[in-house]
């Protein structure tokens, strides 16, 4: 709520629009993406748009930990992997168990319910992992925490590599449920996952993630997150339980990464493979957050979009991608160490505020 409106009682209409407006906005965006933009741009650009949405979920969710609470986690891809494999196991094995036969390769409205269940389950399981990792390791600071999250990421990747190959449908149909999580395809990856992810689902989750995280940032609870980043000792002295705040941030961040993982797992043209979700993926997300500005959601969205499109543009030089990333990062750190927008949103920057005719510089 802006300063200008404080103290004045708001009319019920304003209250309702404020509460529900963003959700309506997400609905409009999703429908526009699915029915207008998607068909207009064709499958190649539609896939890039889906990739952007997934990157947005990843960057915005990592921002909760790295940007809001100022902890440095570099194991985000592991939570993505946990969510992705959970969701894929539910849709793949679920389809075989419920309808029999192999899952269809293309999206089938029949299975959408299962996909939603899988995505939510992926978020929950990833959130649980976030709790397990967060509780012990958030007593660590700075580099030490970064190392633990890095190690966690590697452990998840190696464990997934050690799982057995995916059984035949006949075997799946008869196998007891608890044996299935041990057969996730190993180092070859989880092949044949139904491809439910499209513009509709990707942007729905991206939109919801943005609404949730932005509202968090603009609330008392989000301010508690930010205070931990700003000065942990002062935050404690102001009655903020910093450890519990950090764990909460870790769980929320992991759960949202799980959603991104579920979307990734069911995307056409990607294979759910432990190699895809290793350190390099985590690092990509960290770059998005640092580039956009630690704590800035609009910055994360912009960086996610740019860094998703960039490899497509530079497709011929794809071997040099990481070099380009590193150079961009060095350049940004030299010129603008706080990232593009710092902690602020784009509309809070002095330049933009003046353009919009608002009050003077901040």
């Amino acid at each position: 709520m802006s300063l200008a409106s404080y103290g004045k009682p708001a009319s019920p209409a304003v209250v309702a629009v404020d509460a529900l407006g963003p959700f309506a906005g997400v609905a409009v965006l999703v429908l526009l993406m699915h029915f207008v933009i998607g068909p207009a741009v064709g499958p190649y650009y539609a896939k890039i748009l889906v990739d952007i949405a997934i990157s947005i979920v990843l960057a915005v969710s990592l921002n909760v930990v790295n940007g809001f609470t100022g902890q440095f986690s570099i194991g985000h891809a592991a939570f993505m992997a946990v969510g992705g494999y959970t969701a894929a196991a539910i849709t793949y094995f679920g389809t075989v168990k419920i309808w029999g036969g192999l899952p269809l390769v293309h999206a089938d409205p029949q299975g959408w319910g299962l996909f939603v269940v899988g995505t939510v389950a992926g978020a929950l399981v990833a959130g649980l992992f976030g709790l397990f990792v967060g509780l012990p390791s958030l007593r660590l600071r700075g580099d030490y925490l970064a190392l633990v999250t890095l190690g966690f990421g590697e452990i998840v990747r190696v464990l997934l590599m050690q799982t057995g190959s995916i059984p035949d449908p006949k075997v799946i149909a008869e196998a007891p449920l608890y044996t299935l999580p041990l057969k996730l395809g190993g180092s070859l990856g989880f092949g044949g996952v139904p491809t439910y992810t499209n513009l509709f689902w990707a942007w729905l989750w991206a939109g919801l993630t943005l609404v949730i995280v932005y509202r968090l940032k603009a609330s008392t609870h989000g301010r508690a997150f930010l205070s931990v980043r700003e000065d942990e000792i002062a935050a404690e002295a102001m009655g903020i339980p910093t450890t519990s705040v950090k764990v909460r941030a870790f769980v929320l961040s992991a759960a949202l990464a799980g959603i991104a993982g579920a979307l990734f797992a069911h995307e056409l043209g990607t294979t759910l493979n432990p190699k895809e979700l290793g350190f390099q993926k985590s690092f990509e997300v960290v770059i998005m957050v640092v580039l956009g500005g630690m704590g800035s959601l609009s910055g994360a969205v912009l960086a996610a979009a740019v860094l998703t499109v960039l490899p497509e543009v530079l497709r011929e030089f794809s071997e040099y991608r990481m070099i380009v990333y590193a150079l961009i990062l060095i350049l940004v750190m030299l010129v603008r160490p706080q990232g593009l927008f710092g902690i602020h949103e784009v509309w809070e920057l002095p330049v933009v505020r003046r353009l919009l005719g608002g009050r003077g510089p901040k």
Partner: protein
Amino acid sequence: MGLLDVQGVGIAFGGLKAVQDFRLDLPKGALQGLIGPNGAGKTTLFNLLTGVYPPDTGTVKLGDRVLNGLKPHQIAQAGLARTFQNIRLFGDLTVLDNVKIACWSRGWTTTLDALLRTPRFRAEENAITTRSMELLQIFELDKRADESARFLPYGGQRRLEMARALALDPKVLLLDEPAAGMNPQEKVALRNLIRDVRDRFGLTVLLIEHDMGLVMEICERITVLDHGVVIASGTPIEIQKNPAVIEAYLGASPVADASPGAH
């Protein structure tokens, strides 16, 4: 028994006994000064009271509640608020948000309220904003509520630290060198402000300060700490005449020290 009752509190860092056997009995509404040379253990004592360091010995009681073993945030919520000698504001956040953060523990909404923007959430946000703006008004910071805290002038940052601590709705306020770095006019204003705030909020204030003019004028009683030990305690006039205090600050008098027969 007073509101803040400190009994025999001490802590040692390795072989260094930073604070030893500290006793203090602050009645409600008191304005007590804590002075001593640099390194005497004043800030360490604040850290002991607010739970930053758990004391090795002794007990700290606020009213009937024993604060020993509580985490700093629990002590803050229990009603013991503090400011910092080396200013610790949330620099990138706005002046208003700095104060609002301290209102968090008095909030009544859940995260879900915030995510759905329920009427409860709006009501709380309104209440917090109104209260924070009132506090900023008292400290003459309301005009700059929208600026980042780091851009405030030094005196303003010190005042914001006090406003933020008051947003916790504390019973006892610990001020760690509130006048440090202020110019003479600001110090005069601060003097009135501390008294005014104490009366208005029914606070009990414990104040560390090096500016003797300020301490002697506003404190009703003063405790003097040197090398972690209380060397004197009393009214400002008693303290000014106390030889142990003079010695701690200025060193032993050379005349009294020189024994007859020595060169």
